[in-house]
């Protein structure tokens, strides 16, 4: 049963109910029809037999020879089925068959025929075979209003083959019983199936809507049946889920706002501290060695702290969706070259492969951050030489994209690290508690790429070394209008 859908099962069930209903109706109709058909057949046989008898002229007193001649004549015209005809007159016995006396005719029928000069029939089952026996007493008309019983009773014995009757009855039953029954049962069945399936469909739609993030989706509860209970339960669960998710989101928002607030609060004192680190550095030489080391430590860590706080603020701006894209059209190769020059990455460690003439519309500052973070990461965690490649391609969706590739010659990224490489503060090496960077570099790079509507991927080259690939839509057409 699991192989079928709910709809199929419902329809099958209703179909079965319909068939049972129709079958019952058909069976009743069949019985009625059969009885009626039997009666018709019997009546036809009786009246037909009477007619045949009446066509004959009898002599009285009769003799067997005359009677048999008469009987054979009647037997030949047997309708609607062949019959064997017997005659009894006094002690005379004659028949159209081989035996002059029938073994099927009951004494009861004889008695009835002799005592009451009216036609009669009796159904007899002998050895499992049903027979229709008809007794037809004879009279002759003696005057205008009277007749005289002649004492001659003519019997007909007819074997009832019920096949025809059954077939006819079945046809009648099917036509008058099953089909209307089926129609009558199927219509409410389908309506019921619809009424069951509609809430199920609604539930399906609601569940899908919930899945797509519309947590305020609710179902209209109709009636008080099991489906209404289900809808009610769904609504309750949805409400709980919505509440939990809202709570979670609030908590997350609070946490983010807190991080953002902390960062902002840190920025002002840091600005003051950073302004005086130079003084500390310069004067450290005049201090005793311990103090000098302490002073230099403070100076160095203040610088790092400033970077970290700036990165945190940047991240919280992404989280708050407050990051803006200030795009400009420029030459991609030049932009990357400037990034490398500004960072003094002009020695042999970096191998730029930057074809000229690729115009792209992007936010120069953010693109600078992306390239700088990727190259910085490659230098810190990979190994030189670091190749920076640039090319334009047609992306998977058919629009032209700018591909920036940063590939180092280090050991590559461990497979278990790959899925988390863009996570915030993710430490590839658990033993290393702090990296030289803020731990947010790749996360910020990824956010910046996403802000451009692009994609960033990390992987390993077959020949060894990690490779980061950035895809950014070119958007050149809209920019050169």
């Amino acid at each position: 049963m699991r192989a079928f859908g709910l709809r199929t099962r419902l329809v099958l069930a209703f179909l079965l109910v319909a068939v049972v209903g129709a079958g019952t109706t058909a069976a009743l109709t069949y019985r009625e029809a059969r009885t009626a058909l039997l009666k018709t057949a019997q009546d036809t046989a009786v009246s037909s037999f009477r007619e045949q008898v009446q066509l004959n002229t009898f002599t009285f007193p009769s003799d067997v020879g005359n009677l048999e001649a008469n009987l054979r004549d009647i037997a030949r015209k047997g309708k609607p089925r062949p019959w064997i005809v017997f005659a009894e007159y006094g002690t005379l016995r004659a028949s159209s068959g081989t035996s002059p006396v029938s073994g099927v005719i009951t004494p009861g029928l004889r008695r009835a025929a002799l005592s009451n000069p009216r036609g009669a029939f009796e159904r007899v089952v002998k050895d499992g075979v049903p027979y229709l026996t008809i007794a037809m007493p004879t009279v002759f008309r003696a005057g205008q209003h009277s007749a005289l019983p002649l004492g001659l009773v003519v019997y007909a014995v007819m074997r009832m083959s019920d096949e025809q009757i059954n077939v006819d009855a079945l046809l009648t039953a099917a036509r008058d019983g099953a089909l209307p029954g089926l129609a009558v049962a199927l219509l409410p069945g389908l309506l019921a199936a619809r009424s069951v399936l509609r809430p199920v469909r609604e539930l399906h739609r609601a569940a899908r809507s919930m899945g797509s993030g519309k947590l305020d989706t609710r179902i209209e509860v109709r009636g008080k049946d099991e489906l209404a209970d289900l809808a009610h339960t769904f609504n309750e669960s949805a409400a709980n889920l919505e509440h939990s998710v809202k709570e979670l989101r609030r908590a997350e928002a609070r946490a983010r706002r807190f991080a953002s607030d902390v960062s902002h609060e840190l920025r002002t004192p840091l600005a003051g501290m950073l302004a005086v680190t130079e003084v500390l550095d310069e004067d450290a030489g005049h201090l005793d060695s311990d103090t000098a080391r302490a002073v230099r430590l403070i100076s160095a860590e203040t610088g790092k702290l400033a970077v970290l706080v700036e990165d945190l603020i940047e991240i919280s701006r992404f989280d708050a969706r407050a990051a803006e894209l200030n795009t400009d059209e420029l030459d991609a190769a030049e932009a990357i070259r400037k990034t490398l020059v500004n960072r003094h990455w002009t020695d042999g460690r970096i191998v730029p492969e930057l074809p000229e003439g690729i115009r792209v519309r992007l936010d120069p500052r953010r693109f600078d951050v992306v390239v700088a973070n990727l190259v910085g990461n490659a230098l810190r965690h990979g190994a030189a030489p670091v190749a920076v490649r640039l090319r334009s391609e047609t992306g998977s969706d058919g629009t032209p994209v700018l591909i920036t590739e940063v590939a180092d010659s280090g050991p590559g990224i461990a497979p278990d690290v790959l899925p988390h490489i863009f996570d915030r503060f993710y430490k590839a090496d658990a033993a290393r508690t702090r990296s030289a960077g803020s731990g947010l570099g790749l996360a910020i790079a990824a956010e910046n790429v996403r802000l451009h509507g692009g994609r960033i991927r990390a992987g390993n080259r077959p020949e060894g070394g990690a490779v980061f690939t950035v895809e950014i839509p070119l958007f050149t057409e809209g920019a050169t209008e």
Binding site: F58, L114, P117, R118, G119, F140, A142, G143, Q144, P149
Partner: protein, 186 residues
């Protein structure tokens, strides 16, 4: 389990269907009137005599007792007289009739005559009185009916006349032939 439930539900239906099958026996059911047949008799020539069937009921037989008219002659066809018919009745069933199991309830007589008596004044109109040479008071009902029916059908075609028997021991009340039944329309 599910299939078992369906099967359970299907049982009554099947039973119901099967129950309707097969033709069952019935009692004796009356269906319409008797067969009204032609009686092979020559009108005016044949007379009806009533004898007893084995089971006790009376049945008419015809006898050519009248005078048959000759074609082309002036000799007219004349039915037999009641006296003659009654006399023939007293003589009992013929050989053929005996063969068919017919018997008579009348005593065998050797002498005496049968006479149709003239109508008495004040007597019932449309009735006939018949003098027979037997004691009529002690006659069995069947025997009386034999006489009444035979006489009635001899006197009138439809046997509707009332008959009084006058015997050696007196007379009976006027009676009718109870054998006749209303004719059907068929």
């Amino acid at each position: 389990m599910r299939q078992a439930r369906w099967a359970l539900a299907a049982w009554p239906v099947a039973a119901l269907l099967l129950a309707g099958c097969g033709i069952r026996e019935t009692d004796v059911i009356e269906a319409g009137g008797p067969a009204t047949v032609e009686h092979f008799s020559r009108n005016g020539v044949d007379s009806l005599l009533f004898y007893r069937l084995p089971h006790g009921e009376l049945t008419p037989v015809s006898r050519p007792l009248g005078t048959e008219g000759q074609f082309g002659s002036s000799y007219q066809t004349r039915p037999a007289s009641t006296e003659k018919v009654i006399a023939a009745l007293f003589s009992g069933p013929s050989q053929a009739e005996k063969g068919a199991g017919l018997t008579t309830s009348l005593p065998r007589i050797t002498s005496g005559t049968v006479r149709l008596l003239p109508r008495k004044p004040g007597a019932e109109p449309g009735g006939i009185s018949l003098s027979v040479p037997v004691a009529v008071r002690d006659l069995a009902e069947t025997a009386t009916q034999q006489l009444v029916c035979t006489a009635a059908y001899s006197a009138v075609g439809d046997g509707s006349v009332r008959v009084q028997l006058v015997g050696q021991d007196g007379e009976t009340a006027f009676g009718t032939c109870r054998l006749s039944i209303p004719a059907g329309d068929e």
